[in-house]
C-alpha cells in the first residue's frame, strides 16, 4: 500500500533536473567571472578555461559511473599521481616510447579498477574503505617506484596532450588539444551511459542491487566496470595533468574529493540511483569556475576552502529542498 496515490501529478525526470542544476550554477558562476574580468568571454580564454578544467571534468565523469552504482572511488587521485610518475619513469624523455607507455598506463589503471571492483563485489568490503586502501596502496607504490620524487622526463609529444594549443583556428581562435581530449572523453562517457544499455543497468544497480540481481542484471560486472571506467578516467586525467604542467609527486592529490563534490553539485545522488553524465560535466565545470572566481576575487587562499565547503553544502541543500517541496 503506497501513500502516494497513483494519479499523483508530481512527476519528475531526474536527468533533466540534474542538467538544470549543474548548468545553471555553471552559467551563474561563469557570468560572475566574466563580470569581474570581461575577457573571459573571449573564446580564447574560454578554451583555456576548458583546458584547465579538463582533468577535473574527466575525473568527475569517471567518478559518476561509480556514484551511479552506489559507490565511491577515493583512489582516483592516487591513480593520477601514479600515471604522471610512471609516465616520466617509463618514457624517460624518449618520444618514441610515448604511445606504448600510454598503453601501459591504461593497463595499470584498468588493473587498479579491477582490484577495486573485485574486492568490493566479492570480498564485500564497502567501497569507501576499499578505495581508501587502494589509495594508500597505489600512492605508496608510485612513490616507492619513483623514490619519492619525480624521475625521468616527459617528451614534448606526451606533454602536448595537455599543453598544445593550436592558434589562429577559425571561429574559436585557439584550440587546446586538451579540450579535444575532454570532448572525446565526455562523448565516450556519455555514450557509455546513454548510448548503451549500461547506463540504465548502473542506475538500477545503484538504486537496488538486490532487485537488479534478481532481474538478471550482472551486478558484479556492472560494478566492476564502473570502477574500471573510473580508473580509466583517472589515467586520462593524469596524462592531461602531466602534459599540462609536468611531473610531480602530488599531481593527483585531493582530486578524488573534488570529483565527488563535482558530481554532487551537478545533482548526482550519493549512494546511487540518480544522476546523468551532465551532472558530472556541469558539476565539475561549476566547481572549476568557482575556483577561478575565488582566484579572481583575490580572497585569502585559506578562505577559498571555506567557500568551497559552503557551496557544497548549499548545492546539496538546495537539491534536498527541491525534493522535499515536491513531495
Amino acid at each position: 500500500m503506497t501513500t502516494v496515490p497513483q494519479t499523483s501529478p508530481s512527476r519528475h525526470r531526474p536527468a533533466r533536473i540534474a542538467v538544470n542544476a549543474g548548468l545553471v550554477i555553471f552559467i551563474a558562476l561563469y557570468a560572475a567571472i566574466a563580470f569581474l574580468q570581461p575577457n573571459y568571454l573571449e573564446p580564447g580564454l574560454f578554451m583555456n578555461f576548458l583546458r584547465r578544467a579538463a582533468p577535473l571534468v574527466i575525473l568527475a565523469c569517471g567518478q559518476l559511473y561509480v556514484i551511479l552504482t552506489g559507490g565511491f572511488d577515493l583512489s582516483m587521485g592516487a591513480v593520477a599521481t601514479l600515471v604522471v610518475l610512471a609516465a616520466s619513469i617509463l618514457i624517460n624523455g624518449d618520444p618514441d616510447a610515448t604511445w606504448a607507455v600510454i598503453g601501459a598506463l591504461y593497463t595499470m589503471g584498468i588493473a587498479v579498477g579491477l582490484v577495486n571492483g573485485l574486492v568490493i563485489t566479492f570480498l564485500k568490503v564497502p567501497s569507501i574503505i576499499t578505495t581508501l586502501g587502494t589509495m594508500l596502496l597505489v600512492n605508496g607504490l608510485a612513490l616507492a617506484w619513483s623514490g619519492g620524487a619525480a624521475r625521468g622526463d616527459l617528451p614534448d609529444n606526451f606533454r602536448n596532450l595537455g599543453r598544445l594549443v593550436w592558434r589562429d583556428v577559425p571561429l574559436i581562435g585557439t584550440l587546446p588539444l586538451a579540450a579535444l581530449v575532454l570532448a572525446a572523453f565526455v562523448a565516450l562517457a556519455w555514450f557509455g551511459l546513454s548510448g548503451t544499455v549500461y547506463g540504465k543497468r548502473a542506475l538500477a544497480v545503484g538504486d537496488n542491487p538486490r532487485a537488479a540481481e534478481l532481474a538478471g542484471t550482472p551486478v558484479a560486472a556492472t560494478r566492476i566496470l564502473a570502477f574500471v571506467v573510473s580508473a580509466v578516467s583517472a589515467v586520462t586525467a593524469g596524462i592531461l595533468l602531466g602534459g599540462f604542467s609536468g611531473v610531480s609527486v602530488n599531481a593527483g592529490e585531493g582530486l578524488e574529493l573534488q570529483a565527488i563534490a563535482a558530481c554532487v553539485i551537478g545533482g548526482a545522488q550519493l549512494l546511487g540511483g540518480r544522476g546523468s553524465i551532465w551532472s558530472a560535466v556541469f558539476g565539475a565545470l561549476s566547481l572549476f569556475a568557482l575556483f577561478t572566481l575565488l582566484n579572481l576575487l583575490g580572497l585569502p587562499q585559506a578562505l577559498r576552502d571555506s567557500i568551497q565547503g559552503l557551496i557544497l553544502i548549499a548545492a546539496v541543500g538546495a537539491t534536498v529542498w527541491r525534493t522535499r517541496r515536491r513531495t
Binding site: N39, Y40, A149, A150, S248, V249, N250, Q301
Partner: protein, 375 residues
Amino acid sequence: MTLRTLLATTVALTFAGQALAQDFNDPAEFKKQREQLSMTPQGPEGQPWAQHLGDGMVETAKYKKDGQVTLCFSNAGVFNPWRVVGLNNLNAEAELHKDRLKELIVVDAEGKDDKQISDIEALVSGGKCDALIVSPNTTAALTPAVEAACAKLPVIVFDRGVNTSCPVTYIHPVGGYGFGITSGEFIASKLKKGDNVLALRIMPGVDVLETRYSAAKNIFDEAGINVVGSEFTGSDRAKTKSVVEDYINRGEKIDAVWMDAGDTATAALEAFEDAGLPYPVISGEDQQDFLRKWQSEKLTAIGPSYPTYQWRTAVIAALDVLDGKQVPGPEWVLPQPAITEDVLAKYIDERMPPLHYSLCGCQELPGYPERWGGK
C-alpha cells in the same frame, strides 16, 4: 562566547592580510642572517657540509664511545623531493662510515608530530641507540620529546630546530631570511622601481617558509618594487601554472617571479611560454630542471638554496660526538650558497632527475648518481 571568539578572529584576522607577515618579521634575525651570508666559512675547503660559520664549538668528550656504534634517526618524513634527496645523502654518508657504524636505524614519522614523539620515545626506550639524530616535523611540538631524549643520549638536531638548548648541536644553513635576502636582492637589482613581482609560495604558516617571504618582501618594499600578488601553490605544478596564467590573463605585467621554493619554477615559466610572453626575471632554487631551463633559455635568474647537504652533516656531527671530538655548536650554521649565472654550468648534471637538488654535496658519495635516481 565561542561563536563570538570565532567571529571576532575570523573578521579581524582574515581581512588583515598583513598579520601573517608580521609574525615572521624579526629585524634582528634578518640582520644576523644577512651578515652570515657574507661570512667566510671555516672548515675544509670545497666541503661545505663540513664547514661552519662563526666560532662557537662544544666539547663532547663525555659522549665518547669506542667500538661500533648505532645511530638512530627520527625523520619527520619524506613528503617532498627535498627530503628524499636529503635522506639519500644521509644514508650514503652513513655508508662512508661502515667501519664505525654498526647500524643506522631510520624511523619515519610521515609528517605527524604525534607519531614522531612516539617514535623518539620508542628509540630512546629501545636502548639500541648510541646517538640520536632528529629532523623535527615541528619546532615546538618536538621540544619535550627531544628534551627527554637528551637526558639519555647525545642528540643532534637539524633542519628545523627545537626550543631547547639540550641537543649537542643544532645543524642548519643560514636560514629563511638568508634565502629571502639572496633572492630578493637579486630581483631588486634587476628590476626598476615600480616594476611588478609575483610571489609564489608553497603554503602559509610554516616558519622556514614565512621568513623567506618576509625577508624578500622587506627588500621589495625598500626598493619600491610592487608585489602584485602572493599566491600559495601547495608545491603543485598544475596549480602554479594556473595561478601564473591567471595573472597573465588578467593583463598584469609581470617583470619578475619570486618563489619561496623552486620545485615548481619550471611550471611557472611554462605559463609564460604558453602565453607567448618573454620570460620574467625569476628566483628558483637548486633543482636540476630549473637549472637546465635557466641554461637552455638563458634566463635572468638566481638559485638560492637551502642545501640538502645538511643531512650529511648530521651523520658527521653524530659520529664526531661519539668520537669525543669538538663540534661546532650549540648551533652549527652551514654556509648557504646561491647558484648564480657564472657557476651555473658546474651544477648541471644531465644524468640527474629533474627535481634533484644540486647542492646535495653528494657527487663523491657512494652510489652516485643511481642512489639519487640518476642514470
